[in-house]
């Protein structure tokens, strides 16, 4: 199960994911991410409470990241949990995504 909480802070959409982002839940995560990207606001995805992410969850993030880039919208990740970071490293996405160690850093640099 996954939960996606969206809040706005200083014009930035903060999407807090929590739980397992897997084959069951990644379609929901994909929809939420793409909806927010479509709104053309800078996005910071808080991943501190992501307990597990698989290749389908990673695919949702990559798609949102690419869509945001095409629309010249800022898209960053913050507070990536250890288990999610391992998966990003396996996919070499730790060098692709903008990753902030704290949410405050993510908010400061968004836009």
């Amino acid at each position: 199960m996954v939960s996606c909480e969206i809040r706005e802070q200083d014009g930035i959409a903060v999407i807090a994911l929590s739980g397992d982002v897997d084959l069951e839940s990644s379609p929901k995560v994909r929809d939420v991410l793409l909806d927010c990207v479509g709104a053309k606001r800078p996005i910071v995805v808080d991943m501190s409470r992501v307990s597990y992410i698989d290749s389908s969850g990673v695919a949702s993030l990559v798609e949102a990241y690419q869509t945001a880039r095409r629309g010249e919208t800022s898209f960053a990740l913050a507070q990536v949990s250890q288990s999610a970071m391992r998966v990003f490293e396996l996919a070499r996405l730790d060098k692709v995504f903008t990753i902030h160690s704290t949410l405050a850093d993510g908010l400061r640099n968004a836009g």
Partner: protein, 156 residues
């Protein structure tokens, strides 16, 4: 639109004579995405029981989850009426996983990891499996089964 034909549940099993090592646990789940959480929990506990470190458990869980995903998405084509049998064994300082399905045999020659140079969604499962396990390959399935992915990891 016609409804998909319901597949008959397979009653076959992977007998001890067909797999190597001491069995730790064997589970059989429907080919539904919502069963993967249960698979991850069982696999994680089994790996811990065998003495795997936290990082080793994490990698094993990733690999088995991706293997089961591939079965659900590709072998069964999203049909939730299939079954996946996960057999976990210990053989000395190795832990072995057999992921067995009852779908039609897949063309193994077409299953390859993709290049990571290309940034695109999807296609990472095989790469994750090869990175997280010490060895992984398709081997002859037991009687009545369609495919068997064998994966092994040194316990550390």
């Amino acid at each position: 639109m016609s409804r998909p034909t319901k597949k008959k549940k397979n009653t076959g099993s992977a007998g001890d004579s067909e797999l190597e090592g001491e069995r730790i646990v064997q589970i059989r789940v429907d080919s539904r995405p919502e069963r993967l959480r249960l698979v991850r929990a069982v696999v994680g506990e089994a790996a811990s029981l065998c003495g795997c470190s936290e990082n080793c458990v994490r990698d094993i869980v990733i690999a088995v989850d991706e293997a089961c995903q591939n079965v659900i998405r590709h072998a069964y084509g999203g049909n939730a009426d299939g079954e996946i049998l996960i057999d976990i064994r210990r053989d000395g300082d190795l832990i072995a996983f057999n992921i067995i399905d009852f779908a039609d045999p897949v063309d193994v020659s077409k299953i390859k990891p993709r290049s990571l140079e290309e940034l695109r969604p999807g296609g990472l499962g095989i790469h994750f499996i090869s990175q997280c396990m010490d060895d992984a390959r398709f081997r002859s399935p037991p009687n009545g089964a369609g495919n068997r992915l064998w994966m092994v990891k040194r316990i550390e």
